[in-house]
Amino acid sequence: MSFIEIQSVNKHYGAVQALYDVSLSIAKGEFVTLLGPSGSGKTTLLKILAGFDPVTSGTIRMAGRDITSVPPERRNFGLVFQGYALFPHMTVADNIAYPLKVRRRPRGEIAEQVRAMLDLVQLGKFANRKPQELSGGQQQRVALARALVFRPDLLLLDEPMSALDKKLRFDLQEELRDIHRRLGTTFINVTHDQEEAMHMSDSIAVMNHGQIEQFGPAFTLYRQPANRFVAGFVGKSNLLEGRIAQGRFQAGDIVLSLPGAAAEGRVALMLRPEDVELAQAPVEGGKAALPAEVVSATYTGDRAIYTAAVGPEARFLVYGSARTGLIPEGSRVHLAFDPQDCLLLR
């Protein structure tokens, strides 16, 4: 039984269409991320969910109830903004107390809840500071506490990490995931950062040009992308444009026999960089092998990143082990991979 049900939502801004027939159902307690490049419609969808923007057509239901035209102040959704939107004239504690004051809760209860929330986000010491006296990461946590203190039915996060540096981002992602597990609230996060999406979410909706390209857990998106866009946007991939004919894939000089390939016609062959091996000796049976030349080799500590040229045009990205050093640029090698790991995309 889905908790949030988005049905065939279309959104026009004048002549521009921002969302095309978007449908999505989200289970209670799920952590869902809307992932996409800028202009993909992910923020528009979030604004519609929050109630700031009306839909052009379509419906949004929460627990079976139609909330499409309910104003934001009556939705009971928490929101964390990209720029945090903390009230600069109030202290941290007053910011967090605001939604409870709006709800006219008794004073003692407010104080107690605010303290509990400050403890949850580890900002107990900063209760009486003004938001602008805090660091970006701390402001972010105040915004989170303020959006959760009134036990919202749904928490919406609009690119919450985009203003933070990489190290802090990782820590906050861990923290957010932990808070999600502890509270069990349904979270919907918007981001363009696929690492962030994969780190935190139960399910990811990949969006592009106002449509949902694929919705599923990170593993499915990565191993079984539905199309070229998802394959290219979620993780790194090698895409080789070619044709299928009689169970064989052909792209220029490259010919691979793929036993599972039933379809015919134009396709893209996808291969993840970690599924390919650079073999300096001829490869043993069961694996496909393509002769190639190492064009560039980069050492990053945890692994080696190679670009290998197959023929005049095709370039393959390959992740290899770097424990024994790099294979030098210009080496003649074989790209070895299991044909099972190849995915054909229409």
């Binding site: 109630g51 102040e73 928490g78 903004f81 009230f87 600069p88």
Partner: protein, 261 residues
Amino acid sequence: MARSIFWISTVLCLAFLALPLLLVLPLAFNTSSFLTYPMEGFTFAWFGEVFGQPSWTKAIWNSVKVAAGAMALAVLIGGLAATGVTLTGRVLQMVLSALFVSPVVVPSIVVAVAFAYAFGRAGLSGSYASLVLAHAILGAPLVFLSVLTSLRGLDPDLDRAAASMGASRLHRFRHVTLPLAAPGFLAGALFAFITSFDEVVVALFLAAPESTTLPIALFSGLRDRLQPTIVVVALLLSLVSLLFLLAMGQMQKRGAAASRN
């Protein structure tokens, strides 16, 4: 080059704006009853004369009353207008803004005649109410502009954040928008007060002998008798304006600091 331009413009500016004032003001302390140099001696007697003469004190008191009333009314009208305008669409916003600012653009003599005629018809001529009303209409555009500027400087996400937390539009205005736009309201209020306090043309048309404001009293004083009391009053007027301007500068500084984050 840039330095010399800076100095030339500064000196010219001071010569044109400040020098005439500085030349006249010392005469407020002159013992002679003629407005002439050289000064014969130093005295505060003319101050005593101004505060002792009912015609001056009455005019001062009238001016303060009218300015305070006009300020309150202008803040109400201008503040509401600015708040309302920010809630409308772009085209309507332009049209409404132009309309609300129009009293500033129309020549004051035209406005004054219109007021005199209209208030005469309504049986209000010469009353405090007519002066307060007229000055409020002149001050409202200033409040409108100043409040509009500070409302536009607010992050729209603050209002959205408050809405998402369940706050009604009125609650949001009262607890989020108003405190953050307060510097704009205060600056507008000061503008409105000074405008009314200094206003001559409209007051000339509307004021009756018993509701004469300070600038009018000054004006007739100039015609009747050239005495240092006039300079004293001018000095007081300048001081009030200067104080208000300083207060406004302070407020804008604080407003800028508050809205920076």
